[in-house]
Amino acid sequence: MANIHKSDYQIAQQQILDGIISGEFDIENRKDLGPLIPIRLFQALRMVALGSNVEDILGQGAPSLVYHSGQSLGLAMGQLAAANIDKDLETYVGKIKLLCRQLSIGLVVPDKVDLDAGILELRVDECVSCAGIHNVSAPICHFEAGMVGGIVKTFFNRNVKATETKCNALGDKTCLIRVDLL
């Protein structure tokens, strides 16, 4: 049997995704502090560790990395939501909405679904990444765009391109992600 070596990050990733898939949000070794963290800590990880720090090293490559990271999460969430639903889009979207709410990622609302044109637009209200952030010059939720792209890709089993066209941090009051089915 082939010995598939996993890095420590991959081992941790598997355990985190398994935890999400199980729907069990309690976590060991956090007896006093519990499973929840302040949103500003998440935003520090997202916008500093996976944002400005990555940008310092990768320059224009930073959004690609962040998008790709979000897509990995979206693919995992999609696999979870796609189980036992017999390819029913409405049920799939319902499960994704619930999952995003449970994980406090945001309130996902389908804004436009035009399958003939191959275009879907999903709103992410109360987006975890950019809530309380203002005065940016361009959309900053590449992680969420990638995540939505991964979710849609899983359902349709097609390549997709997800683009954030509105961002709360730009003053749009919501984040709108357009997904083109390719």
Partner: protein, 136 residues
């Protein structure tokens, strides 16, 4: 408020871009030629064999970005081309416009100078196409 213009080169100039990539593929040793957008998404590709386009697109942007940052740190200003020399071949990436990158994958026996020459000849043509598209 947002004033986002989607840059979808798939729906415009697509035939011309594919033709340019096919032309690059005719260079000895070239096995794939692709356009990667600023999000690391492969918008156009010509290839001899199956490639994980999601992964290669993001990787090309990340490698190019890191190389360009390194160049800035040593005062080399803008980066015109990044060449990865690998055991089995080369990956060359060159900026076009608006964060788009042209990436070419070759076999080990490709003539690097020839491939570089073809890329340098191709980039102005692509820049013109992209500029026309972006200004419309």
């Amino acid at each position: 408020m947002s004033n986002i213009h989607l840059i979808n080169t798939r729906k415009s100039n697509s035939g011309e871009i594919d033709s340019i990539l096919r032309n690059l593929m005719s260079t000895q040793g070239v096995t794939a030629a692709a356009i990667v957008d600023s999000d690391g998404f492969v918008t156009h590709i010509q290839r001899d064999s199956e490639i994980n386009t999601d992964a290669i697109g993001a990787s090309v942007q990340v490698v190019f970005g890191a190389a360009a940052r390194s160049a800035q740190h040593v005062g080399h200003h803008s980066t015109n081309m990044v060449i990865c020399e690998n055991t089995e071949g080369y990956i060359l990436s060159t900026p076009i416009e608006a964060g788009f990158i042209l990436a070419v994958v070759t076999q080990r026996d490709a003539l690097l100078g020839r491939v570089r020459f073809e890329l340098k000849e191709t980039i102005p043509v692509l820049k013109k196409l992209f500029n026309n598209f972006l200004s419309n």
